[in-house]
């Protein structure tokens, strides 16, 4: 309830996003809320999870006694494979990413701007590391950001212009938060949906960017 309005939990945001994944999508998940998404993928929808370290067809984490040190996800956590999985080297893995063969990259964010710029890799003063974030936003067909609407200090994370260093310019295609779902239209953010019990005014009051309202 960081927003003072009825907001979705982290699991709730992940559940809402999972509804939009289509059967057969190839998807890369970033750390944080994105990793909660797989448990909410509807039965009968097969989503092929890609990991930067070369796994295409990542399964759920294995029980500890089945962990194989040679099989991990991109965060070096023990992983499993789904039926039909493939493994490639890192150059091929990023050929999949940059070559436009990923349907969606689901990523967390520090900030998203009004025109879809994304900042999610570096807080100045902290230890800089980027991993595959810049390749993912440059290459995936769609970039869906999943995050809390406000930061821990209660400041909006959807802003007119990012103040944190950018991961990519004009790369975000959707934003899922605990309050709302945004899409992009003509290079501008567009409010498509409010979370249950959340009014458009409550979203407006907690968003520091201009956007178009196009609620169904």
């Amino acid at each position: 309830m960081t927003c003072g309005v009825a907001a979705l939990s982290r699991e709730g945001i992940a559940r809402r996003l999972a509804l939009d994944l289509r059967d057969g999508y190839v998807v890369n998940l970033g750390v944080g809320i994105p990793l909660l998404v797989p448990r909410f993928i509807p039965a009968g929808t097969e989503v092929i999870l890609h990991a930067e370290n070369g796994v295409l067809g990542l399964g759920p984490p294995p029980p500890p006694d089945r962990a194989d040190p040679d099989l991990t996800d991109a965060g070096k956590q023990p992983a499993s494979l789904i039926s039909g999985a493939a493994i490639v080297d890192s150059a091929m893995s990023f050929a999949i990413v940059r070559g436009g063969h990923l349907d969606v990259a689901v990523l967390g964010a520090l900030q998203v701007s009004a025109r879809g710029d994304l900042a999610n890799w570096y807080v100045p003063g902290k230890n800089p590391a980027v991993g595959g974030a810049m390749d993912l936003v440059a290459g995936a067909r769609e970039v869906w950001v999943v995050m809390e609407h406000l930061d821990r200090a209660g400041r909006p994370k959807i802003v007119e212009k990012c103040t944190f260093p950018l991961t990519g310019r004009r790369v975000v295609t959707r934003v899922y938060t605990d309050l709302a779902v945004f899409g992009m239209a003509d290079g501008r953010l567009r409010l498509a949906e409010c979370a249950p019990g959340v009014t458009p005014e409550a979203v407006r009051a907690r968003t520091a960017a201009r956007y178009v309202e196009a609620l169904a």
Partner: protein
């Protein structure tokens, strides 16, 4: 990358033998201590760009254009390559050359040809043919391509022809020396002079 313990690059770091690290995601906290103290240079590169730079360097491709990193501080010359000993930035990563392809900005990235490539494989034969296992493949074939002299540590040394030609991930043409991994590689060796 620098790894998360002192068995690999971390050991060279602890021994003060690293001048510059080119990596996408260093994990070892001690690395950042050395970087912010101005003792180690840090060229931060998107992971896919790093993989392709190794592949390109080993493939005779001098440089290539990629959209990864365009419009960010890893391409615009603002990221600190080296800090001054007393604080402040001593040197920045040079700005990448850019070029527009199909209405999108791309950055020029150079292939990496390394003096040495260190590879860890699951199986290898005395001709240097290597096979990796599961996600342990990742950067290994690329490190093998990039290195002028390449050492491969294998968990299993197999007879020539035991690996089917179709199943070889990195052919011996890239590999100079094959070593059998010791069964007792320590996870946290004591390093003289490290705190």
């Amino acid at each position: 990358n620098v790894g998360s313990d002192f068995t690999g690059v971390g050991r060279l770091l602890a021994e003060g033998r690293i001048r510059r690290l080119t990596a996408s995601f260093p994990v070892l906290p001690e690395f950042y201590g050395e970087y912010f103290a101005g003792k180690v240079e840090f060229e931060l590169v998107p992971q896919g760009t790093l993989a392709e730079r190794l592949r390109a360097g080993g493939s005779g491709i001098a440089a290539f254009y990629t959209p990864s990193g365009a419009g960010t501080m890893l391409a615009d010359g603002t990221f600190a390559l080296r800090y001054a000993a007393g604080g402040g930035t001593a040197e920045r990563m040079p700005p990448r050359e850019t070029r527009d392809f199909g209405g999108r900005e791309h950055v020029l990235e150079y292939g990496i040809v390394a003096d040495f490539g260190l590879v860890r494989a699951h199986q290898g034969d005395r001709k240097g043919n290597l096979r990796f296992r599961l996600s342990a493949r990742n950067f290994n074939p690329l490190a093998g391509m990039s290195g002028r002299r390449v050492f491969a540590e294998v968990q299993e040394l197999v007879e020539v022809d035991e690996l089917h030609p179709d199943d070889i991930h990195l052919p011996g043409v890239f590999v100079d020396d094959v070593l059998l991994a010791s069964a007792t590689s320590p996870k946290q060796p004591t390093i003289a002079g490290s705190a």
